[in-house]
């Protein structure tokens, strides 16, 4: 695993316009960064990222199976009690899922360590599945990168295939897709999913989360008063389950992507549960609930809110002393504690690997860099290649 500086394609911003990639720079700072790329060996990809990704996914499903069957655990995961049955049924009915992103600390040698599982509303999908794919295509064509270079990135192909499978379960049904207003990044991610669904022959309709309505005959409606029966929402279950329309969920009879059981594995309470069921697994970091922290004998650890996004409200402790923390609006639901395993440093950057799953198949990686040890939403996205 190397970080290799390289020249930007002179026309890439124009190309981004052409393809509708609007959020490559935010608030004057680069988000998409092609002044360098990462190079992996095929062995690193297949043995140290691809295989553990699929294995951890199975381990997560094991945790879901345990949690939905246990009221005390549902409590620990802060699932609102009135929705326990809704979440449980989504699992017992084997409601299909679409995608996840596991975040790893990985340095090219030692086993990748799982930081968290973004199993409900992962973003940076377009940048990974299409934009870095196009980057490699152009770099190879211009001779800047060796012809035999590959990329761990079958994300778009697998997304379309997954939609084809899901379409068979929803013949002639419209897939509604949704995200919040005023966020170009989320809307771009959803547009990409719409494009992939179209490619799979699915008819789609977009509606903003805030515009979803309560139908006269029950159920949820879109802007045209059409009943929603099948919906992708880029909006976290932990928000939805605490909002007004959650009272409609049982009778609305919507097939959700992601399904409600994803609220369990996108939850940081997953991490201590994984450690409990699979102690000393090479890809896991020791993790504990608050009440078990003293027994854990950890002195270097990271405190993470049970619900949080984009690295908010994370604190790093060394010898029980707070050394670094990020701000944010989360933490009301409690915290978990994870052993401190800092991100590897390449130059001035701390590097995080996002490893994607489509259903249960590993589908590619994204590389993000942050100047801080805590990767936040102003991190930069860099492309990668495989060259053995």
């Amino acid at each position: 695993m190397f970080r290799i500086p390289c020249d930007e394609r002179p026309n890439w911003r124009k190309l981004a316009d052409e393809y509708g990639f609007k959020f490559h720079s935010m608030y004057g700072q680069a988000y998409w960064d092609e002044t360098a790329y990462y190079q992996f060996s095929l062995q690193q990809i297949e043995e140290q990222l691809e295989a553990p990704t699929e294995e951890i996914h199975q381990m997560c499903l094991h945790v879901v199976d345990k949690v939905v069957a246990d009221s005390q655990l549902m409590q620990k995961f802060r699932i609102p009690e009135q929705h326990w049955d809704f979440v449980r049924q989504s699992w017992l009915n084997k409601e299909p899922c679409l995608y996840s992103r596991l975040d790893f600390a990985y340095n090219g040698k030692d086993p990748a360590k799982l930081y968290e599982n973004n199993a409900d509303t992962p973003t940076s999908l377009y940048e990974t599945g299409f934009w870095q794919w196009l980057w490699l295509e152009e770099k190879v064509n211009s001779g800047a990168v060796h012809r035999s270079a590959d990329q761990f990135n079958s994300l778009q192909e697998k997304l379309v295939q997954r939609f084809q499978v899901l379409a068979k379960q929803h013949p002639d049904e419209i897939l509604h897709l949704s995200c919040c207003k005023d966020t170009e990044e989320d809307r771009g991610t959803v547009q990409y999913l719409q494009d992939c669904a179209h490619e799979a022959g699915i008819e789609t309709q977009f509606v903003y989360i805030e515009d979803i309505g309560e139908g006269i005959e029950g159920g949820l409606t879109d802007n045209d008063n059409q009943i929603i029966t099948w919906m992708f929402k880029l909006y976290p279950w932990e928000f939805m389950l605490n909002e007004d329309y959650s009272r409609l969920l049982n009778q609305a009879n919507v097939s959700w992507l992601e399904p409600a059981w994803k609220s369990i594995i996108s939850n940081k309470a997953l991490l201590p549960m994984l450690w409990k069921y699979f102690p000393d697994h090479p890809n896991l970091l020791p993790s504990f609930f608050e009440e078990d922290l003293s027994k854990s004998q950890m002195s270097h650890y990271v405190k993470k809110p049970i619900f949080a996004r984009e690295g908010s409200n994370v604190s790093i402790y060394k010898d029980h002393q707070l050394t670094l923390s990020s701000e944010g609006p989360y933490g009301d639901e409690g915290f978990i504690y994870q052993a401190y395993a800092p991100l590897p440093k390449y130059g001035d950057s701390h590097t995080l690997i996002g490893s994607w799953l489509i259903d249960d198949k590993a589908a590619g990686i994204s590389v993000r860099e942050d100047s801080s040890l805590i990767t936040q939403d102003l991190s930069r996205f860099l492309p990668h290649i495989i060259l053995s």
Binding site: E18, Y19, G20, M26, Y27, I45, N118, D120, T121, T123, F130, W133, L136, D150, Q151, N153, S154, Q156, E157, D172, C179, C180, D182, T183, E185, R187, T189, Q191, Q194, D195, E203, Q205, I209, E210, I212, G213, E214, G215, I216, E217, D222, D224, N225, Q226, L234, Y235, P236, F239, M240, E243, D244, L248, S266, R309, E310, G328, P329, Y330, D377, L378
Partner: protein, 195 residues
């Protein structure tokens, strides 16, 4: 190969449409410019052929609108235990038998060219005292005027432009957490709620 084998770049290009504007939205914009369309526009047709005659490029949507309305009529249509009771409302030879009940036959369906929306089977009756006499009616009791002329060119004239009635009681029951969290001054945030 560990990457996607082929991507059709032409399909990924959004240069003229912009990233957020969808083809459906473009359709509305174009229609509004010539002053003859809005997002609530819908048409009533008696057959798929009539629909296709007006919207040749949307033959697949015509087909879907028809078949979905038909299955909705069969699933949600009013049920009668005797044929006669059904025909008193919907007219002679206008009811079909199921295992142990009768439902009225769908006589038309609603089609929206710019949006996929709900599917609406429509009824009409030859029986003078029926609420469906001389007009189109939906399962929910919304009525639209009926016109039956057609021309020799095959272009449908039976279509009626209608505005769909409100079927939503309230909006905004999702999304409240976001406005609460947003008020925490995350000025450096890109602002997404994914992760």
């Amino acid at each position: 190969m560990k990457r996607t084998k082929k991507i059709d770049l032409n399909r990924m290009r959004k240069s003229n449409a912009g990233f957020v504007l969808k083809p459906a939205a473009l359709g509305i914009a174009a229609a509004s410019l010539v002053g003859c369309g809005n997002s609530n526009e819908a048409y009533i047709y008696k057959s798929v052929d009539e629909c296709v005659a007006d919207h040749a490029s949307k033959w697949r949507q015509c087909d879907t609108a028809y078949s979905q309305a038909l299955s909705k009529a069969r699933r949600d249509g009013k049920r009668f235990d005797e044929r006669e009771k059904c025909e008193t409302v919907y007219g002679d030879n206008s009811c079909e038998r199921h295992s142990n009940y009768y439902t009225p036959m769908m006589m038309g369906f609603m089609f929206s060219p710019y949006h996929s929306r709900g599917y609406y089977p429509l009824y009409s009756s030859s029986y003078r005292h029926s609420p469906y006499y001389g007009r189109w009616g939906t399962l929910d009791g919304d009525y639209y005027p009926r016109s039956t002329t057609s021309t020799s060119t095959g272009k449908s004239k039976s279509s009626r432009k209608v505005t769909l009635t409100k079927k939503t009681m309230s909006r905004g029951g999702f999304g409240s957490t976001v406005s609460a969290k947003s008020s925490w001054g995350g000025s450096s945030s890109r602002g997404g709620w994914g992760g």
